[in-house]
């Protein structure tokens, strides 16, 4: 068990390392560097050379990679192209905002999705299931920006309850984003509830048709006890990985929604960095997103192992 976790951790570290190399190599391969981006039209001759010297860009790529990776390990992503802003501080703010948005969406979305999925699975092919499942497909197919625009139309323009976009600055305390971030959270919830719900539904259907549930019926176990005690522990296991992917997707910055609502999260920072050719920031965010994906999936794997007696107890009979 412990050995397995250590193995997965090591594998995760290797993945992150590979990603860091790919990011660095990709940025290297692009024409231009931080200095040409910063100096723009003046990027030539002495000025360019001086700039490169001061940023250490004249050193060999391997040295610069080691330097960058080393600092990143310590949590320091260096300075932005403007030469002043510490990237780590700026990114931390945005991460906080993204977590706020994600937490809002997850806190409502995951329980709702599981409830709807179980409900639809138990009442399979009956009107209630058909309504819920159809709505889920609808929510999945409507593009986020359409849903976002409709919400703006309803809440900001018709009802006038909320501002159409988030105006709170990025460094404001978390509470200040309330209730402005609600429409953004609703859009995210819609998309993710649909995914998780469909997964849970099919899993519940499968488990409810399994031999051990049939056996529980024939043992005289009351219906709801079968659902909660016998079926759900098995049925919800596959949901863990879907939830994990959703969490990673939310934390990695939901670009479209953040842009539409002008929400100062990681996704918008990424878009801004790309349009500014702010290479150090792009590097930092990409690496951070990779770490998030690896970390969340690792957590999900470990959680699945802990919750599944078959995997947890590897003793007993071998195959």
């Amino acid at each position: 068990m412990l050995e397995l976790i250590v193995k997965r951790l090591a594998l995760g570290a290797v993945t992150v390392w590979l990603v860091s190399v790919v990011i660095f190599a990709g940025i290297e391969a692009l024409p231009g560097d931080a200095c040409t981006a910063y100096l723009e039209r003046d990027a030539q001759g002495k000025l360019l050379e001086n700039c490169r010297q001061s940023l250490g860009l004249d050193r060999p790529a391997v040295t610069r990679y080691l330097d960058w990776a080393g600092s990143a390990l310590r949590g320091d992503f260096g300075v932005s192209v403007d030469g002043e802003t510490r990237i780590t501080a700026e990114v931390a703010l945005r991460v906080k905002n993204s977590i706020l948005l994600a937490a809002g969406a997850l806190a409502v979305g995951v329980p709702l999705a599981i409830f709807l999925g179980v409900f639809a699975g138990l009442y399979r092919d009956r009107p209630a299931d058909i309504v819920v499942s159809t709505l889920a497909i609808l929510a999945m197919t409507i593009p986020e920006f359409v849903a976002a625009t409709v919400l703006v139309l309803v809440f900001a323009i018709w009802l006038g309850w909320l501002p159409a976009v988030v105006l709170t600055p990025a460094d404001a305390p978390a509470l200040d984003f309330f209730p402005e971030f609600v429409p953004a959270a609703i859009v995210l919830t819609m998309v993710m509830v649909a995914h998780i719900m469909r997964m849970v539904r099919s899993s519940v259907i499968e488990v409810m048709a399994s031999d051990f549930v049939q056996m529980a019926h024939l043992k005289g176990v009351p219906y709801w006890r079968i659902v909660f005690r016998h079926a759900l522990p098995s049925a919800l296991l596959p949901a863990i990985n879907v939830v994990a992917l959703t969490v990673a997707w939310l934390l990695g910055g939901v670009v479209v929604v953040e842009v539409v609502f002008n929400y100062p999260g990681l996704g918008r920072m990424m878009i801004d960095a790309i349009s500014d050719r702010n290479l150090p920031v792009i590097q930092a965010i990409t690496l951070l997103v990779a770490v998030t994906y690896v970390g969340v999936n690792l957590a999900a794997d470990i959680l699945s192992i802990l919750l599944n007696p078959r995997l947890r107890t590897r003793l007993g009979r071998g195959a």
Partner: protein, 668 residues
């Protein structure tokens, strides 16, 4: 018996609504009754509706099924008219079910103790504190060693036999008056099966329970039931005392079933029952069995036979019942055994050892790796061309592992495998195409070994294209020819495996193996997923092919009677080590290794009054002992220390019959 029936089904019909809105019956007019202390067996092929009867007796119908007419009464109460609460109180309480596959019927996320306690609390009004000791007592009652430890385990940590015992304990929790057993021992080893049935019989006597055994295995029924009901296409076609039904059945269907069963005492191939039962709703106006019946007359296809009385207290649905009863016993009309001529050595295994254990990365880096005893060790066997070598043993005896090694799928740790004198490379990817062609394998489950998305033609085309470079018309013609050799029509070429019955699928798998024109065919439990009637047909086919193509078989099976019917040479394995090997007559007639004797005695024959001898516990061993005889821990005739420390000597008898045991050959 003047007692009122505990379970009573009266003219029960169950069905579903078909595509055209018509009711399609799955069960038709089934009437059965079981009294306290009585045991009834329900037999039939798969799809005959026997499991539906058992579930209906509990008032349970699978998704989509409906009760059309008739009643199910438990203790005089109509199970389908009761409220949900009342039904739940009866189920698992007074009426227990023991499922076919306990491994899947126990909730995987709950500990055994918790599941037992749940059943106890639901039906006995016990307080939490009383539950645990009661649950332990139940586990002890089903003869599970160390109940305290079992309570803490999850279902997957138990062996198949242990899981089945837990399921029995759970059914006993509610002090049942009747037990329904749905194929209670299918999938278990012969020794385990015999133990479980003995346990069930003792419990039934002790508690005066009524029991309903549902099984396709007439051996199990013969051994455990006083009365037998035979089902065909959703109908009871014969109902009567077990002795009469098994000896002088008044219906041609059970007669055909009986002659399809291979017997230990009979070295001949069983007689196959051709065709398949009609699908629900497809039977014509007449007798459902008419199309497969050897005694069919024109009248049979016009009149649906009613249940009538027949000799020996049987009730039967057959117009010619009196003639059927008068027929000679079934064993006489079997084809005689024909041994293949023996040629050169086709396959030779010399001191083969195989080990599944692979040291992990960490263990290899740290250099601390102590390999356990090899899974399979010291296997030396040879098969002559045109002969069949049977490998028998319980699950975990390494029979399939040896096949994998021969096929090159599992490289041996030591030893050498050679075909026709040429040493085979251990790994399949190192073998030349021609070598690969000569060794083909047929797997246990055709559902898994045939690609469900390929048509039969595509499946058969693969070896033809690969080994013979056939294309186009030639390819299709050859594929059609192959189907003819396995007695399937060319019209099957465009079908998908899902559209075929189990027996037909296995024939396609046989055809695929023979498409390569192999020298050696490895058969891994090829008939154990099939009904007896179909099994007989596949065995017959394999025997025919062996004769006409002069093929060599290595035939793995846990069923000793099947091996008896097909094999020329037999090797008995325990824990991956040879116990006994030799010509089939010698091995089956004795003297035998204690393990062979144990296996032979545990086989259930479809004859009443035959009781298996149970000499040793059906303990599951996880790994072979490090030294001495592999069978030391279970042997009923263990001599002493010598069995633990020294490998038993190979004692040779006539015709190369060898037994590895410390007991002198004369005393075995």
């Amino acid at each position: 018996m003047g007692l009122d029936p505990v379970i009573e089904l009266t003219e029960l019909s169950i069905g579903f609504t078909g595509r055209d809105g018509q009711d399609v019956p799955v069960l038709r007019d089934v009437s059965l009754a079981v009294r306290p202390g009585e045991s009834l067996g329900i037999v039939g092929e798969s799809g005959s509706g026997k499991s539906t009867v058992a579930l209906a007796a509990m008032g349970f119908l699978k998704h989509g099924l409906r009760r059309l007419t008739g009643q199910v009464r438990f203790d005089g109460r109509d199970m389908f008219a009761l409220s949900r609460q009342d039904r739940e109180a009866i189920r698992g309480g007074q009426l227990g079910l023991i499922p076919q596959n306990s491994g899947q019927a126990l909730t995987p996320t709950m500990r055994i103790g918790a599941q037992l306690c749940e059943a106890l609390r639901l039906h006995c009004n016990l307080a939490q504190s009383q539950c645990l000791p009661r649950a332990e007592a139940l586990l002890a009652q089903v003869r599970l060693p160390d109940p305290g430890a079992i309570m803490q385990r999850y279902p997957h940590q138990l062996s198949g036999g242990q899981q089945q015992r837990v399921a029995i304990a759970m059914a006993l929790a509610g002090e049942p008056r009747a037990l329904l057993l749905d194929e209670p021992t299918t999938g278990l080893d012969v020794t385990t099966q015999a133990h479980i049935l003995a346990l069930l019989r003792d419990l039934a006597v002790e508690r005066n329970m009524a029991m309903v055994f549902v099984s396709h295995d007439l051996g199990v029924i013969a051994h455990s039931c006083q009365r037998v009901a035979v089902m065909y296409a959703g109908e009871v076609v014969l109902d009567g005392p077990a002795q009469e039904v098994l000896k002088r059945p008044a219906h041609p269907y059970p007669r055909a079933l009986l002659s399809a069963i291979p017997r230990l005492c009979d070295a001949r191939l069983p007689r196959a029952l051709d065709g398949r039962p009609p699908a629900p709703g497809q039977g014509g106006a007449g007798c459902a069995f008419a199309d497969r019946c050897a005694m069919v007359q024109t009248g049979c296809r016009q009149v649906h036979p009613d249940l009538t009385r027949a000799p020996g207290g049987q009730t039967v649905r057959c117009l010619r019942a009196d003639e059927v009863v008068a027929l000679t016993p079934h064993a006489a009309d079997r084809p005689a055994l024909r041994h293949g001529p023996s040629g050169d050595v086709a396959l030779h295994l010399r001191d083969v050892a195989i080990c599944y254990h692979r040291p992990g990365l960490a263990a290899r880096l740290l250099g601390r790796d102590t390999p356990p005893p090899a899974t399979v060790d010291g296997i030396s066997l040879e098969v002559r061309a045109g002969q069949t070598l049977g490998l028998v043993g319980e699950s975990g005896s390494g029979k399939s592992t040896i096949l994998k090694a021969v096929a090159g799928l599992m490289p041996p740790l030591a030893g050498e495998i050679s075909a026709r004198g040429a040493v085979l490379p251990t790994q399949v990817r190192r073998r030349r195409p021609d070598t690969l062609r000569k060794i083909q394998m047929i797997f246990q489950n055709p559902d898994e070994s045939l690609n469900p998305r390929q048509t039969i033609e595509q499946i058969l085309a693969q070896p033809l294209r690969l080994y013979f470079g056939l294309e186009g018309v030639q390819l299709r013609e050859r594929a059609a020819e192959l189907l003819e050799t396995v007695r399937l029509g060319a019209h099957m070429l465009d079908r998908l495996p899902g559209q075929l019955s189990g027996g037909e699928k296995q024939r396609v798998a046989v055809a695929r193996a023979f498409a390569a024109e192999p020298d050696i065919v490895l058969c891994d439990e090829v008939t154990s997923a099939l009904d007896v009637s179909v099994q007989a047909a596949v065995l017959d086919l394999l025997d025919d092919l062996k004769r006409s193509k002069h093929t060599t078989y290595v035939f793995v099976s846990h069923d000793l009677a099947v091996v008896r019917a097909l094999a020329d040479q037999v090797a008995v394995l325990y824990q991956g080590r040879l116990c006994e090997a030799g010509p089939v007559e010698q091995v089956y007639s004795g003297p035998s290794h204690p393990y062979t004797a144990l296996l032979l005695n545990a086989v259930l024959e479809p004859v009443t009054g035959h009781a298996p001898h149970l000499e040793a516990e059906d303990v599951v061993e996880l790994s072979p002992p490090a030294s001495g005889c592999p069978f030391q821990r279970r042997c009923p005739r263990k001599l002493g220390r010598i069995c633990d420390t020294e490998s038993p000597p190979e004692q040779m008898g006539a015709d190369g019959h060898s037994i590895r045991c410390h007991i002198p050959r004369a005393e075995l």
